[in-house]
């Protein structure tokens, strides 16, 4: 019990004094997960909307694949991204393994199916005749898709929160492709794992608290936007 108490005390001290190492780790986490979420929003919304609006043979299989992808184990993603970026791997010539870039790629692979799956469900959930109504108003196909995305904005904001939540808290892939290099590819989750294994519970608790607070505030901002949109 004393250990936890001591840990929390140290954690607050590190936070209040804005410990440079802790700050660096925090900013890198935000940078990597933020970028991965933005890229996955682009990929997820485009593909999710396309699949939702089109009919083709094997569509159900594709939808099942997307839904399975929503629960992709980060370590499996880490493994495959590592193989691809490995010196002799297909994308080895980029030389980005053990860099924040590799972490962004891995996190994008994790978040994209989440955004895709939620987008797919959100667009499909809109009344079928809404599409006809938009076309009957004289919209081009692109205008129609844009209007549909706007109509689904509340679930799409949820998709963004789910995507970000998925990657900011993910550790397996980040440690595998980022390598947890001090001052370079160390993020909140990988640092927490390392400090815990070393028995530095105070720092681990501090990092854990920062992670929770960060996730809370980002979701708070997105929730504010989402709920403001809700008509009274």
């Amino acid at each position: 019990m004393a250990l936890i108490f001591e840990g929390i005390k140290k954690a607050f001290w590190l936070l209040i004094t804005c410990d440079p190492e802790v700050m660096r780790i925090t900013f890198l986490s935000l940078q990597v997960s933020g970028t991965a979420t933005l890229i996955s929003l682009f990929i997820g919304i485009s593909i999710g909307t396309t699949v939702a609006l089109s009919k083709f043979p094997g569509r159900r299989m594709v939808v099942s694949l997307i839904n399975t992808g929503m629960g992709l184990p980060p370590v499996v993603v880490g493994l495959f991204v590592t193989i691809f970026l490995w010196r002799n791997g297909p994308l080895g010539f980029f030389g980005i393994l053990y860099t924040p870039g590799a972490m962004i790629i891995a996190q994008t692979v994790i978040a994209s199916p989440i955004v895709m799956g939620i987008t797919l469900a959100a667009i499909q959930h809109l009344p079928e005749k809404l599409r006809l109504q938009i076309l009957a108003l004289g919209a081009t196909r692109i205008q129609m898709v844009w209007i549909l995305i706007k109509e689904a904005k509340l679930p799409l904001l949820a998709a963004m929160m789910a995507g970000f939540g998925g990657v900011i808290s993910e550790v397996g892939a980040s440690i595998m492709v980022g390598g947890n290099i001090k001052g370079y590819s160390r993020v909140l989750t990988t640092a927490t794992v390392m400090e815990t294994s070393r028995g530095n519970f105070d720092i681990a608790i501090a990092l854990g608290i920062i992670l929770l607070v960060l996730a809370y505030f980002i979701n708070l901002i997105l929730t504010q936007i989402q709920q403001r949109e809700r008509p009274r």
Binding site: P127, K129, L130, L132, Q133, L135, A136, L137, G138, A139, T140, Q143, I147, K150, E151, K153, E229, P231, R232
Partner: protein, 366 residues
């Protein structure tokens, strides 16, 4: 007006679903400014026809000509759709304010802001919803939402307006007031309209022509008078004539009552109407009294006509007698009356009904 190119013409429209033909319309001509109602039971193909005509339902065979030019050849589908507007049974409003909803078709056309504002305000006023302009569409009642949807369609100033049972999910008073507004808007704008409904009254009040549909085909098409007073077959008769609905023209006014000419017979009804005005007369079958031919004794009934029994159908507790008095008339009688009058098909009887028993609907609004 001189004979002009029809605004819309179709040739051999056919829609198949799972191998069966669900819509088969050999030809349909619609003139500019015309209001055509499509009536028929559920599943008759009204919606499928509307969606084919507006090119919203893609996989169909046949050709559509807009002002003489073939759509998808001389006109692109997109160009054609920009001349149309559609209102469905559900209001299908966007998750934004009433103003933005009405403006949506204009924004899609990239009109400039001041023009959009002016036009939206005009159409909000046309449907009496300017006080709702800043309200979220999600908070509207059914009637308000459908008014917004109609205003959105009229704001585009379409050349053809497609209405797919727009009042079907509204309560009767709301439906009535909305019908009045729609009727006024159509009279003002003279927009060519194709209106699908399963309500005969809506069709009678609004349209110049009525097409009765069944099983994916147009069974009869003609003026309201032709369709209502001279149904072509049993299906049309049974669909339009659950009770007697007649189209007539006022030929005489008689202090509180007026006389209408229906298929060259004169029927007297109570109410206000102008000479020469077209009116719809509705006579409930239970208000029609039948008697044997010689008895033409004096009664208070102002309308007495000899008629031939065309068909007798049992409706359980009573019988439905369809008569031909020069116009179709339906009467309900009990089994007892049927026996005492020894009614049977081909027999001639005297049918009478009071002037006060006629429900009069005036066609041209106020």
């Amino acid at each position: 007006m001189t004979e002009s190119i029809p605004i819309l013409e179709t040739k051999n429209i056919q829609v198949k679903r799972g191998g069966t033909i669900i819509l088969n319309i050999s030809s349909l001509l619609i003139q500019k400014g015309e209001i055509l109602s499509l009536i028929g039971p559920n599943g008759a193909g009204k919606t499928t026809l509307l969606q084919s005509l507006s090119y919203l339902l893609k996989p169909f065979e046949g050709d559509i000509f807009f002002k003489g030019k073939r759509v998808n050849q001389n006109h692109s589908i997109f160009e054609y759709r920009r001349k149309l507007a559609a209102v469905f049974q559900e209001p299908l409003l966007f998750d934004t304010t009433v103003f933005e909803n009405v403006a949506s078709g204009l924004k899609i056309r990239r009109m400039n802001r001041s023009e959009i504002r002016e036009r939206v305000m005009d159409h909000l006023e046309q449907f009496g919803i300017n006080h709702l302009k800043d309200r979220s569409a999600r908070t509207l009642s059914g009637g308000e939402a459908q008014r917004t949807s109609l205003a959105r369609a009229f704001a585009i100033q379409p050349e053809i307006l497609f209405l797919d049972e727009p009042f079907a999910s509204l309560d009767p008073p709301t439906r009535e007031s909305l019908m009045g507004d729609l009727q006024r808007a159509l009279l003002e704008t003279k927009t060519t309209t194709i209106f699908a409904t399963h309500d005969r009254f809506e069709a009678l009040i609004l349209s110049n022509r009525i097409a009765v549909m069944n099983l994916g085909k147009i069974v009869q098409i003609g003026s309201p008078d032709e369709v209502m007073n001279h149904p072509i077959d049993e299906f049309v008769a049974s669909f339009v004539g659950v009770e007697t609905i007649l189209m007539g023209k006022v030929v005489k006014k008689n202090g509180g009552t007026f006389v209408t000419s229906v298929s060259s017979k004169e029927i007297e009804a109570v109410g206000e109407a102008q000479l020469g005005e077209e009116v719809i007369l509705c006579i409930r079958p239970e208000n029609v009294i039948l008697s044997s031919p010689p008895s033409k004794e004096l009664t208070s009934a102002r309308n007495v006509f000899p008629g031939r029994v065309e068909k007798i159908t049992s409706l359980g507790l009573y019988q439905k007698v369809q008569l031909n008095c020069g116009f179709p008339l339906v009467a309900y009688v009990t089994h007892h009356s049927l026996e005492s009058l020894s009614l049977k098909e081909e027999k001639t009887v005297i049918a009478s009904f009071k002037a006060t028993a006629i429900h009069v609907v005036r066609r041209k609004g106020k």
